[in-house]
Symmetry: C2
Subunit: 231 residues, 2 copies
């Protein structure tokens, strides 16, 4: 963000989004919130019609989503929405635990009260969203909580990895947060992270972050076991 030279600060924050990025977001969102279900075929020409863009764009978007793991490409059959099985979900939660734990430890070791304050603010937003039964808000503010955790110690690459993995389990997340007691247990676990960070207790912050993810993972496994198949 070193574009504040001269009068450039005035520069209108133009969207600058290319059509491809718009389309990418649309399709990703459609997959993430279930408009396309796992296993659904994503026929290029159909998507062209639905999105109102050319096949070139659609193909680039599909390639991108493929590299994100949201779309799988069956040889000689074409792209489908990727399945997420039990085990992969578990792995993703595990990785998040390792990275979020790492970030929490680093935050604690900074001994900077501003970090805990910022996290507390996100935490308040989460609780407030729970009170309003605004589940989309819960997800958004939870993301924001973790983003703060990573960005406060300048770990944007790890944050990128976590973010990439998180979209793949988004539907699970939206189910886990609706679970009974999650509205008190979740924030309580996150408060433990913040407390440890405020105390400068790196190991405690690490453990608390791991515990929080482990809790979410356990609920996700239970949810998954409820269905015959997650497809």
């Amino acid at each position: 963000m070193n574009d504040d030279a001269h009068g450039a600060a005035i520069r209108v924050e133009r969207p600058a989004k290319t059509l491809r990025e718009l389309a990418l977001d649309k399709v990703r969102e459609a997959i993430v919130n279930g408009y396309f279900r796992p296993g659904d075929r994503l026929v290029e020409r159909d998507l062209c019609a639905q999105l109102g863009v050319s096949r070139t764009i659609v193909r680039e978007v599909l390639r991108h989503l493929e590299s994100e793991g949201l779309v799988a490409n069956l040889p000689n059959k074409g792209p489908i929405v990727a399945h997420l099985n039990h085990d992969e979900a578990k792995q993703i939660y595990e990785i998040r635990g390792a990275l979020e734990g790492m970030a929490a430890r680093l935050c604690a070791e900074q001994n900077n009260p501003a970090i805990a304050d910022a996290l507390d603010k996100s935490l308040e937003d989460i609780k407030s969203s729970y009170r309003d039964k605004d589940m989309a808000g819960v997800l958004a503010h939870t993301s924001s909580f973790y983003q703060t955790l990573f960005s406060m110690v300048d770990r944007h690459i790890a944050w990128g990895v976590v973010n990439l993995l998180t979209v793949r389990i988004n539907h699970l997340r939206s189910m886990t947060i609706k679970t009974q007691n999650r509205d008190v247990q979740g924030p309580a676990q996150m408060a433990r992270i913040v407390d440890a960070i405020r105390r400068g207790d790196g190991e405690g912050a690490y453990q608390a972050a791991m515990d929080h993810v482990a809790g979410a993972s356990a609920i996700a496994q239970a949810v998954l076991s409820g269905h015959e198949r997650i497809d």
Copy 2:
């Protein structure tokens, strides 16, 4: 690999690679081993000519590499080979440490001698490559060592993340392994990982893996400091 029904085992192992995948590999390799340098512009039509494929393919390849972080897209200017700065390299090593440490711990907790044996085999290959001054071999077998670490405990997603990040620091890796004493220190550190795994010492394996990556990271930082800029 469940295609062993009937006479299907006879089936010729056809490449099945699409032109796009071939081109993707070519360009990625060209970037990774320095044929294209960071900051170089990747002009679509030039790539078409050099690769002998159409713009359609080239564009999809560039999108893919962009999502891998190897290519950056300057608005209104086009794609260039992404720069890797000091700090990002450090972050990548840090993430690898967290994930490889996690995998090492899981391996140790399996108490399965076959794991340590497989790792020992890779380690022997690495030492042998060092003796032959076959640096490409060192890199390949080191990858294979870590792949074993992850695959033995069925953590293919974490392996994918590590792999994705590793290509971005490949040129650093090829410099760190050429450093003085790395031919004895590197394998020694990896042997410590294997020993801890063989003893079933999860914490020890975790620490040993972290130490190994930390060592590589320190060397990389030193190498980077040698140059004015890594560009």
